[in-house]
Amino acid sequence: MRASRTITRRQWIQQAAITAAGVAAARGADAQTDATVARADTLVATGQPSGGAPTFAQYNDFNPFHPGLDLRSSICFVLEPLFFYSVLPDRMVPWLAESYEYSADHSAITVHLRQGVSWNDGHPFGADDVIYTIDMLRKNGQGKGDQLYASAMARDVKELVRVDDHTVRIELNHPDPRWFFTYLTVRFTEGSFILPKHIYSVVDPANLASFTALDKIGPNGPVGTGAFKITNMTPERIILDRRDDWWGATTGFHKLPEMKRVIFVPFTTHEQAAQLISNGEVDTILEAHVPVMKSLLQRFPDRITTYSGNKPPYGNIDWWPTSLLFNHTKKQFQDVRIRRAVSLYLNRKQAMDYAYQGAAEVSGLPYPRYPRLLPYFTDMDETIKKLRILDYDTKAADALMTEAGCAKNAQGVWMIDGQPMGGDLYYPVSLDAVAPVIAEQLRRAGFQVAPNTRPGYRNEVFFGHASWWLWGHGASVNDPFQTLALYHKRHIRPEGENAFWPSRWRNDEYSDLVDKIEALTPDDPGVRPLVDQALTIWLTEQVAAPISQFYHRIPFNTTYWKGWPNEQDPYINPTFWHNTGTLMLLGLKKA
């Protein structure tokens, strides 16, 4: 009886031959695709994955107000807002609304909606939907408060008035000249989409957390007003098809997008994404590190390009200028001289050279260099130079440290009150290029520091355990107020409690200035001097150490699509996974 349960040598060789043949055959065979949509009509992109692994989170969740929903590759092409804001040309783009105006005292907003808009199941769009959306959030905020903006709506909205089919008046509890922009204008990852009342009204606002809006869908999938509809959604891939009966085309507002289909797959690793875009399987990806970007541009100059063409910074400025932030409740950073010294220990130019091969601009303010914020860079230039915010001077830093009462021990580590100074430097994955470099500079300066982005790092930072961390100021884009407001003393919480902005810095004079700015409209000429004053305090106290501007380095493959946003025609920032993604899809043209 043969030993039939084990593989003999002959069988093994046979197996090997079969595998080899299989590979050879596979090379020839073409993958089956849906024959109805050609590659040239399809836009393929790698979207933002969840937690580092190649799947989309909450892929079957269609409620845009669910918190933590880092899935933008579907909802923002099917739902639409009242207004978009395109930051690079500094333009408010009316969408479902045509215009809006504040009352004289800024305590009410009248919104005029567009006529002729309909949902993708045929239902007409109107004031009822807008009122319903805001009211639903308000009710939720008064109860459980588990939806985005719900608590804000509950706090701010006094009454919603249906003036007529296409006009809504929102009455606020307190005057706020920025309210419409903050909550009803979609930009970056912020702003509200308008929900269809006839779909959502079946749900009790208290149970919104478990409502994914996929239980009740129309003939075109989940209901929305957008130019696309969801055809297929799995954790590994989302497919959207163009809707030829989109209101934009039927009302003549905008012509239809040129692509018939959009496919999103999750971004896996930088390596794989770069390979996918270079062989044309994908038209754009989330980002490319500078060395990889340069390699792509060099090897495929005819079909890879970026927002800034093939020259630095290889992308567009993003609203996340990088800074080193201090926890002001930690004893070691309470002396302004120590904070000043830390800033002087940072060789920002070297950091840019190592992290971004020099393709990034050092920045002395926590503002992105967007059109409306540029004046402040000019205003504060003198102060920045005088305070040596961007300087690199280890000798002066050493002197400041000694003056503040620190001393180096035998191993060369700075000590204060018998404790070694420093701590893990936490950082988000988006800053992984610059974090090891900054950490090393601080280590050589004499601090005990290691870069840390382990799971749970956000907890450490926001709960006040971290001593210092790298982060971006994602707040102001066209108004200096939002970033300044981050440092208001009302955000201070004791350690162990989650603080909205974890710097925990207290300065009454500064907070008063911020309150004054808040009361003025953004266009008020009185704003600028107040902002300058506040910034002066911020810089003098070295509340944080600003490092650089932050960029989205997104490569585009021009084989199938052209008309990507670029420096000459920056119609929208090319971060297609932001809530403003539709604008880019509408702007692309077939190659």
Partner: protein, 341 residues
Amino acid sequence: MRTGALAALRPLARRFAMFVAVIWAASTLNFFVPRLAPRNPIEEKLLAQQEMGGTTVDIQSLVRAYNAEFGLDRPLWRQYLTYINDLAHFDLGYSIADYPTRVAAVIGRAMPWTIGLLTTTTLLAFAIGSVLGALTVWSDAPRLFRAIVPLFMIFSAVPFYLIGLALIYVFANLLQWLPLGGGMGIRTMPTLTFAFALEIFKHSILPACSILIASVGVWALAMRGMMVTVVAEDFMTFAEALGLTSRRRFTQYALRNALLPQVTLLALSLGHVLSGSILVELVFGYPGVGQQLFRAIQNLDYFVIYGIVLVLVTAIALAMLVVDLVYPLLDPRLRRLGTAR
């Protein structure tokens, strides 16, 4: 003297009790370990929102609401009891990061990919590795085989995700013979056709190869250890004295006897390969259970972690139980003597 049926049931019952004990112990450890650190997964998930840029949202009330929703504000022992109770009802709960998706759905989607990839690779590696490992000990084996095995040993020293990266670079990037990653083509729609099956197969070749190359060496090593004992047995000398050919002695006497204990290791190795699958799936973007676990860990999604680890441990324990029960059937010696303990 007990009747035959009852005597047969007792070891069965004992093994089953062992199986349950394993599951329970694993679940308990599983529950407490991720909570070692005083971190809140809800906060982590909501703070991720803020990290993506938005500072407009008020996180505090959201946190309170979701903490209550997930029962994370209750004392730990209460949560543990609820957890055990849910498990007894096969209820794995909701995922925190993907709320309101259920954990079972998250795992269910990823399972087929992992099972498909790992079962085939494990079985192949087991077969190839065992034969090769046995050959190293066999003094009459051709020189060729004796030389191949050290090569595989060397490969098993290299972490298989690195082998994977090298394979991607050579076969997918340079030569473009095979896809770069993923479970299937980006523009492919799943259909029940041969072409689609072929595409799935194509996408699994590189991940499978990288696991294979790295783990054949491990099996060879294990088999080698076993063969060493078998070769030293008296019956081998007897077989040689009988004048049986080397090949016959190798396959029918040595290999066959050494292989049986290896089968028990097969069940155990399932765990080993599953661990490694995290990295392979991450490198290849293969949508299996490993990368879901990685994601859950990054997001501090306790319930998905519990679910996945539990499912894996159950699978392994089940495999071991099956092997324990089937083993006597395979090995005639044990059948006669009753179960060995």
